[in-house]
């Protein structure tokens, strides 16, 4: 299959802006192109971290599960029931 003739390229560009009546100041802005929607979302996913509070909460929940008393023998025999 032929590839599209106008394939999108990933490039970085720097722009300089001059502020009048003030000392010259360079502002750098980076423009970025993504080759595909998948790449864009993957970039977003790579930059998304699990908050520490979430991890703490999961740890506490798991620890709480471990601390639950063991089911009595008759519950284990007849099956667990949710009370």
């Amino acid at each position: 299959m032929n590839e599209p003739s106008h394939r999108l390229r990933q490039e970085t560009r720097e722009e300089n802006s001059v502020v009048p009546h003030a000392e010259q100041r360079q502002e750098t802005t980076s423009a970025r192109e993504f080759a595909s929607v998948d790449e864009l979302i993957r970039h977003d996913a790579a930059g998304t971290k699990v908050p520490g509070a979430v991890t703490d909460r999961v740890q506490q929940a798991v620890a709480g599960e471990r601390a639950r008393p063991a089911a009595s023998w008759w519950r284990r025999f007849f099956g667990e029931t949710n009370l």
Binding site: T48, K49, R57
Partner: protein, 193 residues
């Protein structure tokens, strides 16, 4: 010898009013599962539900359920696929509860043909903090099915077969819908600029 804390990278900012969490995990096996899979699962819940608070609640529920069912899971599928299944079911149940209150545009009826006429790449953007917000806004404009497919295919560890299993359709159906989902996303994303 204290348990080694197998925690994924967390945000730098401190949690101001959080109780002191126990250090380490009580299950080394589960700690390893969490360390390896928490980030993609969190990303799915965050972008699917559209709210960090709801994603936090979902993460708690999903991994607690996974912990409870860990003994029953013995390699029937990949761990990540298994976790995704729990997360997807949980998120879809949550969304169903608000479905009648929040009528969202499905986005499926956008003019996909218009995407071909754009002269400028809608994916070109300035790298700003608002990238995540723009992506979220674009995803919110899609149907749940399209949103889910895009989030799953973004995980390079998932195959089309696995995505098909998670969404209960054939890999070919997944490919076809992904094509339309990508186009719809591009249109919505361009509108967020």
């Amino acid at each position: 010898m204290p348990l080694q804390t197998l925690m994924p990278d967390s945000l730098d900012e401190p949690s101001p009013a959080q109780p002191v969490a126990p250090t380490g995990w009580c299950s080394e096996e589960f700690a390893e599962i969490y360390r390896e899979h928490s980030r993609p699962i969190y990303y799915l819940t965050l972008r699917f539900l559209g709210s960090p608070a709801q994603a936090e609640d979902a993460m708690h529920d999903v991994f607690l359920k996974a912990y409870r069912k860990m003994a029953q899971f013995r390699g029937k599928s990949a761990v990540r696929t298994w976790l995704y299944r729990i997360a997807i079911n949980h998120c879809q149940n949550l969304r169903q509860a608000w479905h009648h209150r929040n009528i969202l545009p499905s986005g499926d009826d956008v003019d996909l043909d218009a995407a071909g006429g754009q002269s400028e790449n809608p994916l070109r953007l300035l790298e700003t903090k608002e990238l995540g917000a723009r992506i979220q806004q674009a995803l919110d404009g899609l149907s749940e099915e399209y949103r889910l497919l895009l989030l799953l295919v973004a995980d390079e560890e998932l195959s089309y077969d696995e995505i098909g299993q998670l969404t209960e359709q054939t890999p070919d159906a997944v490919r076809g819908k992904l094509h339309r989902a990508r186009k719809a996303f591009q249109l919505h994303f361009a509108r967020t600029a």
